[in-house]
Amino acid sequence: MTTSTILERTSDVPAQVFEKFLQALRDAGGSAELVARLRKTLLEDKKFTERALREAVLPEEPLP
């Protein structure tokens, strides 16, 4: 058995939640760019700070 198999068998609840969220966001009309940025932040980079989320949600868009 390889390591990846071991990891797959461990229930990764956060990953399940993030996948479900991104799907719901897409279904609600969220732009592909927004979904891609959030996917990178949450699932690839695994960054969960407010700062990282703000960069994903409001990229280069400072508040007025």
Binding site: T10, P14, V17, E50
Partner: protein
């Protein structure tokens, strides 16, 4: 993920030097309170995760792993405090040694350290929930819904889910907060525009009608539409640089009237009342210096929490315990929540004051601007300074801190200096004295001012729209996330709820076999209600006993672990988790663990020897898979009721001619072993309600019972006509009788007090044969192959056989006719 073969502890907590061989099997550590059981649990957790939850986190005060983890005599030498565990990783078919010292808890020496092994160990390290203590267990059951959600989420490793939820919510809140000042700016710009246009409603037809009336005076074509880019003064000649800008008389007088109204509002009784109220609230906050200091630090802690991501300090590169540090910071942030709530309440009350100040500031700036156009220009110094003062007051009230300065500024808000009113009156007189402009000039002035204010309004509207879009978008994202996470968690909780009810129903199947439970998640909370004998659903602490609550905690933990780790749930440490559960239900817990978690290696601690027996008889642990700590001392750490240790210790005492110590140890050991023998052989013992049995009340019944069993076995053999077996049994019986006689133990039945007290008076040479006699006697109760004590099977009902743990000894007790 892993199973633990063995653990070796040096100078760790209360342990000096101890090795326990688990052999990858479930194992029990039994002993009275304070004998070092939890030290083993701490050592296991430390070796596997680099942390000891008992020494970190909320409510631990000044206790820390590095300072208080080493044995007290090694407190200044943390490198000597070391734990080594040998684990196997079934999925990789590898045996791995992990060693950690308290000098550097975050770094483990792993051999072999190949990537696959390290990845599995990283997973283990990320799951400290493999260790469950009673304190943690009860938190799942009796916590408030919000706290329970946090605990369960921590167990399920959902802190990341929660962190994202909070983060998205904060972003949405921040965006919504931006809307307030921008909304105020739109309102002010609109009011100014309406005043300039001389209309009461900002509707396209009315704006066009009034603008076109002015344009007609200048023979400009009428505007047909009003779009985002339409200029009301479109086509009007731009005044040349030589032409001085004039005061628009009518507009200036209207603006002066509006300024007076705004000043009247800020000096009103309503404003004064609000200022008094807010000042009182802030004085409450400022009255507690610690609270005021905490308010200052909130932003620092919050930023710090976001930045603490690496495993070492970014300044000095010294490794830190990330989990411990985050818990520490989080505790401080939690402490600030109440302060934040009070601060938000004060900010809400201050908001209308800020709006009024903005209106006054804008109005003052407008009239000061007009004054500069007068000939000669009017300085309106007091008004100008008041406008600046309003700006500073707005900044101060927005910042809120320091509170003392804010309170000081608040006190001045309703005070309107007379000099300002004098300035305004002076300007009004100058403007009133101006000659009336021609119709064309008036129209030109009107269009210039109206266009200027239209652009300000458009700009304010645009900024407000951008902010509104951001607020809507971020709120939508936050809501979608909350709904998605609630949905996933609800599914998980439904599974866990089902498993929990099934597990709890099993251990209470005598009276709660139809037990049901409800886990109700909502917005970061987790309600937990349980069925009470069909009378409805109530919180666990409402009607169920403490023992039942302990059982619920364990079952909820097992259900969560089953979901979290599935087939990887093969190792768990249960630290005295069933303290309040009665003996009958503990037996059921043993049966449950064996039935539902046959592949999980449980390391269990208990102070109750009866539960230890249940573990053995239910087959959770094997005969040798337990250690019984008999006492603990700061110099030696735990000492165990281990046959080899005891006999060696007695021999050492005799070598030192310390008969008193040897006799005392022999007495206590025989008491402990006799209780075990009576239990295994089902020997009838005179019952004592306090369960405080003396040696003379236990050992003789065990001997009598052993003889009676041999006698029954011979009769059974006779009924089956098994001559050879009868001969073997006779030989064993004879041998055992000799051993019993040599020990003279049976005589104690006559007088329980005399004989062993008498030992203290014996000389070294007199006592050595006594020791040998009892050593040999205990040997007579064991299997000659495995050395374990024999036991009667089954544990209840009609006795059928005498067996041992290895299965080599099997003596039939049932006659042919039975």
């Amino acid at each position: 993920m892993i199973r633990v073969e063995s653990i070796t502890m040096h100078e760790f907590r209360g342990i000096r030097d101890l090795t326990l061989d688990f052999k990858e099997k479930s194992f029990a550590i039994c002993g009275p309170n304070g004998t070092g059981k939890s030290g083993v649990v701490d050592a296991l957790e430390f070796a596997l995760t680099g942390n000891v939850s008992r020494l970190s986190g909320e409510g631990r005060g000044d206790v820390s792993l590095k300072q208080h983890g080493p044995h007290v005599d090694r407190r200044n030498d943390p490198d000597k405090a070391r734990v080594t565990v040998r684990v196997t990783i079934p999925s990789l078919s590898k045996t791995v040694d992990i060693e950690r010292s308290l000098k550097n808890p975050a770094t483990a020496q792993v051999v072999p350290a190949d990537p696959a092994v390290l990845e599995v160990l990283r997973q283990v390290e990320a799951h400290p929930e493999i260790v469950l203590s009673r304190r943690e267990l009860i938190r799942y059951v009796l916590a408030t819904p919000g706290k329970r959600a946090e605990e369960v989420q921590a167990l399920l490793h959902l802190d990341q889910v929660e962190q994202v939820r909070v983060g998205l919510q904060k972003i949405a809140n921040a965006c919504e907060r931006q809307l307030v000042p921008l909304g105020t700016a739109v309102t002010l710009a609109r009011e100014n525009l309406l005043r300039a246009l001389g209309i009461s409603e900002l509707v396209k037809e009315k704006v066009l009608a009034t603008a076109n009336a002015q344009r007609m005076s200048l023979s400009l074509p009428a505007l047909m539409d009003l779009t985002e880019t339409t200029s009301l003064k479109d086509g009007m000649a731009t005044p040349g640089p030589a032409q001085p800008q004039r005061i628009p008389k009518a507009q200036t007088l209207a603006d002066i009237r509006a300024t007076r109204e705004d000043l009247a509002e800020i000096g009103s009784d309503d404003t004064m009342k609000r200022v008094v109220e807010v000042s009182a609230d802030l004085n409450v906050l400022i009255g507690d210096p610690a609270v005021a200091a905490s308010v200052k630090r909130e932003a620092f802690f919050t930023t710090g929490m976001e930045l603490v991501e690496a495993r070492a300090c970014p300044f000095c590169d010294i490794p830190w315990d990330l989990g411990e540090l985050k818990k520490h910071i989080q505790a401080k942030i939690d402490h600030l929540k109440e302060v934040s709530r009070k601060r938000r309440a004060a900010e809400t009350k201050i908001a209308p004051l800020i709006t009024t100040l903005r209106k006054v500031q804008a109005a003052i700036n407008t009239v000061v601007g007009y004054a500069a156009l007068a000939t000669p220009p009017l300085a309106l110094k007091a008004a100008h300074e008041y406008g600046v003062q309003c700006g500073s007051a707005i900044e101060r009230l927005n910042a809120l801190l320091p509170l003392a300065e804010t309170i000081k500024v608040l006190a001045n808000v309703p005070i309107i200096p007379q000099t300002i009113l004098d300035d305004i009156r002076e300007l009004e007189q100058v403007v009133a004295a101006l000659p009336e402009p021609t119709k064309q000039d008036a129209a030109r002035e009107w269009l210039v001012v109206a266009q200027e204010r239209l652009e300000i309004w458009r700009d304010a509207m645009r900024k407000h729209k951008v902010a509104k879009d951001q607020a809507l978008r971020t709120r939508q994202i936050s809501d979608i996330y909350a709904a998605a996470s609630d949905k996933v968690l609800a599914g998980i909780y439904a599974d866990v709820e089902k498993d929990f009810a099934s597990l709890y129903g099993f251990i209470n199947r005598d009276d709660e076999d139809k037990f049901k439970a409800q886990l109700i998640p909502s917005l970061g909370k987790l309600g937990f209600d349980v069925d009470f004998y069909g009378r409805g659903f109530f919180p666990p602490g409402a009607y169920h006993s403490e023992g039942h609550q302990d059982g619920m905690g364990l079952c909820l933990y097992l259900a969560l672990m089953k979901h979290l780790q599935g087939g990887n749930f093969i190792f768990s440490v249960l630290d005295d988790v069933l303290m309040s559960v009665d003996a009958g239900h503990r037996r059921e817990v043993c049966a449950l663990l064996k039935k539902e978690f046959p592949n999980t290696q449980f390391i269990m601690t208990t102070h109750d020897p009866i539960w230890l027996r249940h573990m053995r008889t239910e087959g959770i642990i094997g005969g040798r898979s337990a250690v019984h700590f008999r006492n603990w001392s700061v110099d030696l750490g735990p000492t165990r009721w281990d046959a080899r240790d005891v006999w060696t210790e007695i021999a050492d005492d005799l070598k030192d001619s310390d008969v008193r110590a040897a006799a005392s140890l022999l007495r206590h050991y025989l008491e402990y072993e006799s209780a075990e023998l009576c239990h295994r052989l089902r020997a009838p013992v005179e019952f004592r309600g306090d369960a405080q049995y003396q040696l003379g009340e236990l050992l003789p019944p065990a001997i009598t019972r052993m003889r009676e069993l041999y006698s029954r076995a011979k009769k059974a053999g006779n009924s089956w006509n098994q001559r050879e077996i009868i001969e073997q049994l006779s030989a064993r019986e004879h041998e055992f009788a000799k051993l019993a006689e040599a020990s003279n133990a049976e005589q104690w039945q006559v007088n329980v007090a005399v004989h062993y007290n008498f030992w203290d008076n014996l000389g070294k040479e007199d006592f050595a044969p006594v020791v040998k006699a009892f050593h040999d006697l205990l040997g007579g109760f064991t299997c000659t192959d495995c050395g374990e004590y024999l036991r009667v099977s089954p544990e209840r009902e009609v006795a059928e056989s005498i067996r041992c743990e290895c299965g080599k000894t099997m003596i039939n007790l049932r006659k042919k006719s039975e």
